[in-house]
């Protein structure tokens, strides 16, 4: 990338945080959201950030996305492009489904024909090829999230950040979208940083699950998920590891009971 690129053993790291802190406000009103967080995400890796409320996991995504500035430490994404998906699909109602997916391409100055072609491909990827001319309000919540995913993919970013993208969906839809996301991640060779408070979801999807403490957010554990893919959320391996992580998370939450 640049001259700043380190030539150490972690050259395949696409996201690197070293002792990153984030503080909101100053003086007696200061709130420390993240406290010396260090983590790396490698090329093609699927990393889940897990924590209870107030662990600053969304803050961390905003920092990586460049929507917010760090207060201390180093954050290096080597000038790579990121895209970010939220819990709400936040599609624009004045655009059709294709229009929404084409928007990032339009902003990049891609020509009309090329845009149409690329959007159609992406809608096929999320299995919404037949819904191109629909309006967002005509789709279900799960379908809207898939359009949002297609829009995020249209940015052609190196890193896909996801902030509880399936948090507002029903269990059945969520399970299917896990399968879909796993497939797309594999086919498109994405690097994903996925925030959730759902332990099973994290174990279902991640190569690694990073557990954060709350107020301030610190990395307290970095679990490797080794059960083979494709996984099922109700498989014994996923359930077993989820139970282990849940215990750790509960202990962390109980610490705040004072």
């Amino acid at each position: 990338m640049t001259l700043l690129e380190h030539t150490d053993v972690r050259t395949d790291a696409v996201v690197r945080l070293e002792n990153v802190s984030k503080q909101y406000g100053t003086g007696s009103n200061a709130l420390l959201a993240l406290d010396r967080v260090s983590l790396t995400v490698k090329q093609g890796e699927f990393v889940c950030l897990l924590g209870a409320s107030g662990c600053g996991k969304s803050t961390l995504l905003s920092l990586v996305a460049g929507l917010d500035k760090i207060s201390g430490g180093t954050l290096d994404i080597g000038g790579r492009h990121v895209s970010l998906m939220f819990q709400e699909a936040a599609l624009f109602p004045w655009l059709s489904v294709t229009g929404n997916v084409e928007l990032p391409l339009r902003l990049q100055g891609v020509g009309r024909a090329e845009r149409k072609k690329r959007a159609a491909e992406l809608l096929d990827v999320v299995r919404l090829g037949g819904f191109a001319d629909k309006r967002p309000h005509e789709l279900s919540g799960g379908m809207r999230q898939r359009v949002a995913l297609a829009r995020a993919l249209a940015q052609d970013a190196d890193i896909l950040l996801m902030d509880e993208p399936f948090g507002a969906l029903d269990a059945m839809t969520r399970d299917l979208l896990h399968d879909e996301l796993e497939r797309i991640w594999r086919e498109q060779e994405l690097t994903v940083l996925f925030v959730t408070h759902n332990v099973r979801e994290a174990v279902r999807l991640g190569d690694r699950v990073i557990l954060l403490s709350s107020r301030p957010g610190r990395v307290i554990e970095d679990y490797a998920v080794t059960s083979p893919r494709p996984r099922r959320i109700d498989s014994p391996e996923v359930s077993g590891q989820a139970a282990e992580i849940t215990d750790r998370l509960r202990a962390e939450v109980a610490r705040h009971a004072r």
Binding site: L67, A90, F92, W94, R127, T173, L176, R183
Partner: protein, 294 residues
Amino acid sequence: MPVDAVQEDTPSVSQDNEVSGLDALETAPKTDRGSSGRRIWSSAWPKLMAVAIVLLAWQIVVWSKWKPDFVLPGPGTVFHDLGDVITTGDFWDGVRLTLTRAATGFLLAVVIGTVVGAAVSRFAPLRAAIGSLITGLQTMPSIMWFPLAILLFQLSESAILFVVVIGAAPSVANGLISGIDYVPRTWLRVGQVLGMKGFAKYRHLILPASLPSFISGLKQGWAFSWRSLMAGELLVIVPGALSIGVRMQQARDLSDSSLVISYIIVVLVIGILIDVLFNAADNALRKRWGLTGN
């Protein structure tokens, strides 16, 4: 992550079916709302009924001899006279003149209101300076402006135009300002994530997002400009310009109540027709955005 090739292919077919099955279940089937004739009738009969009731009440008052017939004529006389009036080419010249004034004034108000509204929502000091002034202007009865307008522009088209614009522009500006103020935060975040800045942000996010509020502003602005125009045509009589207001004033001078009421009906009908146009635009937008109650 390397995946076992045997496991990889088998689930994808059923997964495809599962996904599209769920999509089909979650998108509502189209419901038949009946034929268009039925729909028009079901929305029309209450209106026709209301008109019938008003006409009946009017006729009853006339029958009661509360006022002599030549002061308050009945619907029969008025509609007969109205029929006579609207079949003359002269009358339509008047309508054309009035509507041209209305359109000119309204369009000018839209341009000025949009520029001012955009400027106010863009620059905080400007908002602090004139934000509440705009709302103040909006509440001011437009007829208050005529004495000044006549002094500034004499009895001319410009005097009428001045009042129409000053009556309508604040509504247009306020519609745009509140539209921009209430762009949902999540959309703004999406804009940020997509790297929208400056002009592109306005073009692709702020302006389309503020459209519903802008349209309500236009609708309100039209109502104000139409009212100001009618007041203006009664007060500012430009020699040679036989607008609807002037004709009405002439009818009053001749004590022709029937003709005065005829012109009231004409103004009412024009107002309703234009309101229908604005509502159609508003409904089309709401439908596209999915804001209607299904």
